[in-house]
Every structure is written in C-alpha cells, then in structure tokens.
C-alpha cells in the first residue's frame, strides 16, 4: 500500500465514524433545543393569558376567541390533575391528513366566573423539517470538510514525501557499474537531509568496496606476472641441462604444464577484471567476416592434424563498432571450443548474417545444465580441460558489444550463437 493511500485511508475511516456518530447526536440535541424553544413560547403564552382574558366580557367574546385562536383549546374543568410542564400529543390533522405531533401546555383559568382548562398547542411539524434541513446542512458541511482535509492532506503529504520518493528513485536506479553520482537534496527537512547523507554514505562506501575488489583482482593478476615469469624462465633453464634424467624430465614437464595453466588462469582473470573495469575502448570499426576468416587461418594448426574442416558461410558484410582485439578473442575462443569438442574428421560451420554469428559442431549433448556454461569456474567431471573461464570471457565480450551469447543443442549439434541485437 502506498504511503499516501495509507494516510488517506486512515483519514477517511475517521471521518466516516465522525459523521455516523454526529448524526444521532445532532438529532437529539436539535430535537431538545427545538422542543425547549416551543415550550418556552407556550409558557410565555400562558403567562400572557390574563392579558387576553381581561378583554372577554361575554360568552360571545369567549366563543369568538375560541374560534379565532386555533392553537387554543378551551374546555370545562373536570377537576383532573394538570401537568405543570408541556407534553407531546399526537393528533390527526385534517389539513395534512396524517397524524401530527403537538406540544401542549394546560392551565387552569377562570373566565366570567367559570373554571376552564386552557390547552396551548403548538405543532411540531416544523420541527422535523427544521431538523432535517439543519442535519442535511451539517452533514454536507462535514462531508465537504472531510473531503477537503483529505485532499489537502494528500497534497501536502505528496509534497512532504517528495524528497523521499526522489531518494527511492535514485536508489532504484543505482548501479555500481555506472559512473558515480552523488545524490543531492534540496529539502529543508532535517530527517530527509539525514537520509540523504546516510544514503550517500552507504552508496559511496559500497562503491568503494566494489572498486577495491575489482582493483584487487587486476592488481593481484599483475603482481603475479613477474613471479610467474621467473618460475617459467628458471624451468626453461633447468630443461637445458644435459644430465637431466627421464624422471626429472617428467617432473619438469608436469610443472611446466601446471604453470601454463596458472598463467592462463591469471590472464583470463586479468582480462575479465579489465573488462569489468571498463578499460577497453570500444571505438574501432571492423568487419566480423574478416575476423572470422583470420581466426580460422590462425587456428589451422589445431584443425589440420585432427582433419577438422571449418566452413564459413556468409553472404553479408557485417561491420561493428567495438574492440577488434577483444572481438577476435571471442571468435577464437568459440572456435577453439568447437574444435576441442569435435571428433576427428568432422565439420564445424560458422554462419554469419545480419542478425547473428553462429558456431555449430556435431557432438553429444552437454552432461550438465546449459545455464552453467557461461559461469566462471563452473567445472564438471566430464569437462576436465580448460579453466572454466573461456566461455564466461566470451559472454562478457559479447555483452560489452551489446550482444548476447547463447547456447543451444539441436539435432546432435552444439550451437553457440552471438545475437547482434541481443541486449
């Protein structure tokens, strides 16, 4: 749930409760107030009664008065006990043809020497109308007030939380690999300023760690080159000795082989680190077809003895902008890979068109998940050779060129395809 909706929801439920509670309270209070005022006017009338009765001189006057004043009922005193306060009765109204409520105050009075009971009557019809009108008005007011406050609150909240939303967007888009951008904030609210400082602190620290880690790989690889060079040269001097026994030769042979492995691993790591660190310029124009042809020629020393044929099928010229040396490495790596897993005398096809560059070679299916193919150091018993970096280097080179390297196995053939519009 969004922050704004959350607060709006709370406001709304509070206002609904308020409105629902206020309706009966308003009703009761208004009712009481109205009846109170009606009662007061009845009492006043009763008090003023002697002022009227003193003008009555005859029975005719009395009859006239009775007939003129409808709110007045004159009846003979039957000696019943009268209530001191006004009370409510329901009577059938001949005008409105329905029962209506009246407020009645009875008083004893003596006119022309006779005792009467005078009932002052006041209709309560207006009361209902008034209460309805007042209630309607109040509820409308309340609704507008609530709606207004919710809207204003929403509006203000939106403005208050604006810096928060911006920081959130910044964090969502935050990418360790991208150039450093410090988040700046122009709100004057202490909490948000603190948040900004904390966010910047955090992002800068993680970037520093990330850069240090990347640098470490590169530096470590560089530093390893010299000791490797020393070992390599010493081994080479060692094998020049005339007195070398067969046993010693074998030992040195194994060492040389292992050393070559370390060397390649180191070079591979260095290459990956430098690509990760964006140290390769991607500003050369080159033809992919030419690179493929060069690579096939360069790898003839591998294909010739195994009787493997590499067929290059293309009818288009594909030019790319990128790093020619790196791209050549990718092509060579994929070719070496195809050669390595091809049986003697088989044919490897390299197909180039406007959408892709594809290397296919016949072979039995992979004995492991193909998703593991491009991962660094994902080793399998079935694949004992290689250091597990070659394909991840190729995938990285492809992605540097905004392309995608994919693997597929179909009808007894391995397909390594570089899709030009891959990313």
């Amino acid at each position: 749930m969004k922050l704004l909706n959350y607060s709006a929801q709370k406001y709304l439920s509070f206002s609904i409760v308020l409105v629902l509670l206020s309706i009966p309270i308003f009703y009761v209070v208004l009712n009481k107030l109205f009846i109170h005022s009606v009662d007061e006017s009845l009492e006043q009338q009763a008090e003023l009664l002697p002022e009227y009765t003193k003008f009555i001189d005859s029975e005719d006057d009395l009859t006239l008065w009775k007939n003129l004043d409808w709110d007045l009922i004159l009846s003979k005193d039957t000696g019943k006990v009268l209530l001191a306060k006004p009370y409510t009765v329901e009577e059938y109204s001949k005008i409105h043809h329905e029962f209506e409520q009246y407020r009645v105050l009875e008083k004893q009075v003596s006119i022309l020497g006779k005792k009467y009971i005078i009932a002052f009557k006041s209709s309560l019809v207006e009361k209902d109308d008034l209460i309805k009108a007042v209630l309607g008005l109040l509820i409308t007011l309340l609704i507008f007030l609530t709606a207004g406050s919710i809207y204003i609150n929403h509006f203000i909240s939106k403005r208050i939380w604006q810096p928060f939303r911006l920081i959130l967007d910044y964090l969502k888009k935050y990418d360790l690999d991208k150039k450093e951008t410090v988040w700046t904030n122009n709100s004057n609210i202490t909490e948000f300023d603190e948040l900004t400082v904390s966010v910047n602190d955090l992002t800068q620290r993680s970037r520093k760690i990330y850069l240090a880690q990347k640098e470490f790989t590169e530096n470590a690889s560089h530093e390893l080159q010299t000791p490797l060079a020393i070992i390599k040269s010493k081994l080479e001097l060692f094998i020049q000795q005339e007195s070398l026994s067969e046993e010693q030769s074998l030992l040195i042979g194994d060492m040389s082989k292992a050393l070559a492995g370390i060397e390649k691993l180191n070079l591979g790591l260095l290459l990956l680190a430098k690509m990760d660190n964006g140290q390769y310029q991607l500003n050369e124009h080159f033809g992919v077809g030419k690179l493929v042809q060069q690579s096939i020629l360069e790898l003839a020393f591998l294909t010739e003895p195994a009787g493997i044929t590499v067929k290059f099928n293309t009818d288009t010229q594909v030019d790319l902008l990128g790093n020619q040396q790196l791209y050549g490495q990718m092509i060579k790596n994929l070719l070496v890979n195809a050669i390595r897993y091809s049986a003697e005398g088989s044919t490897i096809h390299v197909t180039l068109n406007n959408n892709m560059l594809c290397f296919t070679n016949p072979g039995s299916p992979l004995p492991f998940e193909k998703s593991q193919l491009f991962r660094r150091f994902s080793k399998h018993d079935s694949v004992k050779n290689g250091n597990g970096l070659g394909l991840s280097i190729s995938a990285k080179i492809a992605s540097l060129h905004l392309q995608k390297l994919a693997y597929n196995y179909a009808s007894g053939t391995h397909h390594f395809t570089v899709f030009f519009e891959g990313n």
Binding site: H222, Q225, T226, L228, A229, I230, I231, K232, S233, K234, L235, E236, L237, I239, Q240, L244, E246, S249, L250, L251, I252, G253, D254, S256, K257, L259, A260, G261, E263, K264, L267, G268, L270, L271, K274, Q279, Y280, S295, E298, L299, A300, F301, L302, E304, P305, A306, Q325, G328, Q329, K332, N333, V336, N337, R340, N385, G386, N387, G390
Partner: protein
C-alpha cells in the same frame, strides 16, 4: 652481438642472461632507470630489452631518451601489464617488438634473432641449418637442394626450432609461439606431437636431428 637487459627483477634478468649467453650474445644488465640511462648513453648495443615498469622511472621515458640519442635500433619492450594500450603505445614510441610477461626464453630468443636479422643484416631472409635452408620471407624449405612443401604451421615450427637450435624447447613454448593470443584458450598440447610427427616425416633423414626430450619438449641438435 651485444644486448642490454633493463629489468629490475634480478632473478629474471639472470635467467635471460644465462639463456642468451649460451647463444653467444654478450649481455649487460641494468636494474634501474639511472644505470640504464648511463649505459645507454655510454655504449652501443645491438638490441635492448626494456622493462617499462622500473622502480625509479617509466621505461617509456628511456625509449624517448634513446630516440633523442638516435639509438633506436632494436628495442624489445617486456612488460607485466599485457595490455593493448601498452603494446600500441610502445610500438608507436618506436619500440620494435613487445613481449608480455611471463614469456618463454625461447620466444625471447627467437624475437631477438628476428629483430637482429631485420635491423643488422638488412632483412636477411635465408637461414641455414645443416642441410636445410629456410627462406623466411617466401616461407619455403629446401632440404639438400630439394624443395619440401610444409604447411604454415610446420614452417613456423621448424623456424622456431632452428632459431633455438641446441636448446630444449618445451611443448608450452611451441604452442604459445604458433598459437599467438589464442593460446589463452588452449589446454591440450597433444596437437604439437602431431605437427612434429608430420614435420619429421617430411624432413626424412634430416628429421633425425630433431630429438624428443621425454615429457618436456623437443631439441634440434647443434
């Protein structure tokens, strides 16, 4: 032939001296920028091996200094950086070749020989070994006057062995030499065995000079 080795890593420098001395080169060493600069200004060398990362200065500045003195013949840069930019920068600054660490001494020796051949003997392209004659430019081999057809790989392989004659060459050095930068993805050196076998067959009698050093590599007799 006089060679100056400018390399701060003494152990590596010693290895180079030891290997090259056996090939009748006169080697001198410099372990830092200052002494290298002094030697360059005082003496003449046929070839200079220059490590561009020196403790007290950038080797590329020495290259500029050599240029100023007009002694630019035969500089091979050796660097631990193995970066394209360094290679391009070095070659653009007038270096003749670039070799990244760790390298095989056999490879270094072949590069030096090729460089000296280019600079000192006006690109002499004929190399003889016993009864075989290699034409480096035409990439042809004559054995006892008869032309022998070799594949490009076989020719490069034989040339590499001839330039390092009398030395034991490891399989790794051979693979690196003939595979160039695709060596990074190679892990199987058996392919060399097949090429050596084919080469020996084509050389016929002359092939007997090529000895296998069990488990290590190959050696062409002196």
């Amino acid at each position: 032939m006089k060679i100056l080795i400018i390399e701060d890593e003494k152990s590596l420098s010693e290895s180079i001296v030891s290997y090259l001395s056996k090939e009748n080169y006169i080697c001198e060493t410099a372990f830092d920028f200052i002494s290298a600069q002094q030697k360059i200004s005082l003496f003449e060398y046929d070839c200079i091996l220059l490590d561009i990362m020196l403790p007290d200065g950038n080797g590329l500045h020495l290259l500029a200094y050599l240029k100023k003195l007009g002694k630019m013949d035969g500089v091979i840069i050796i660097s631990a950086k193995n970066s394209m930019e360094d290679r391009v920068l070095s070659l653009n600054s007038g270096a003749d070749d670039y070799l990244s660490k760790p390298f095989h001494l056999a490879e270094l020796s072949a590069r030096i020989l090729s460089l000296i051949r280019r600079t000192k003997f006006n690109g002499q392209h004929i190399i003889s070994y016993k009864e075989t004659v290699l034409d480096v430019d035409a990439k042809t081999l004559h054995v006892k006057g008869e032309i022998v057809i070799l594949t490009k790989t076989e020719f490069e392989l034989y040339l590499f062995l001839v330039t390092n004659k009398g030395k034991v060459i490891s399989k790794e050095a051979i693979v690196e030499h003939i595979s160039g930068d695709s060596a990074l993805y190679l892990d199987n050196f058996d392919v060399i065995y097949a090429h050596i076998k084919n080469l020996k067959r084509k050389l016929a009698d002359s092939g007997t000079h090529l000895k296998t050093v069990y488990g290590v590599g190959y050696k062409l007799e002196l």
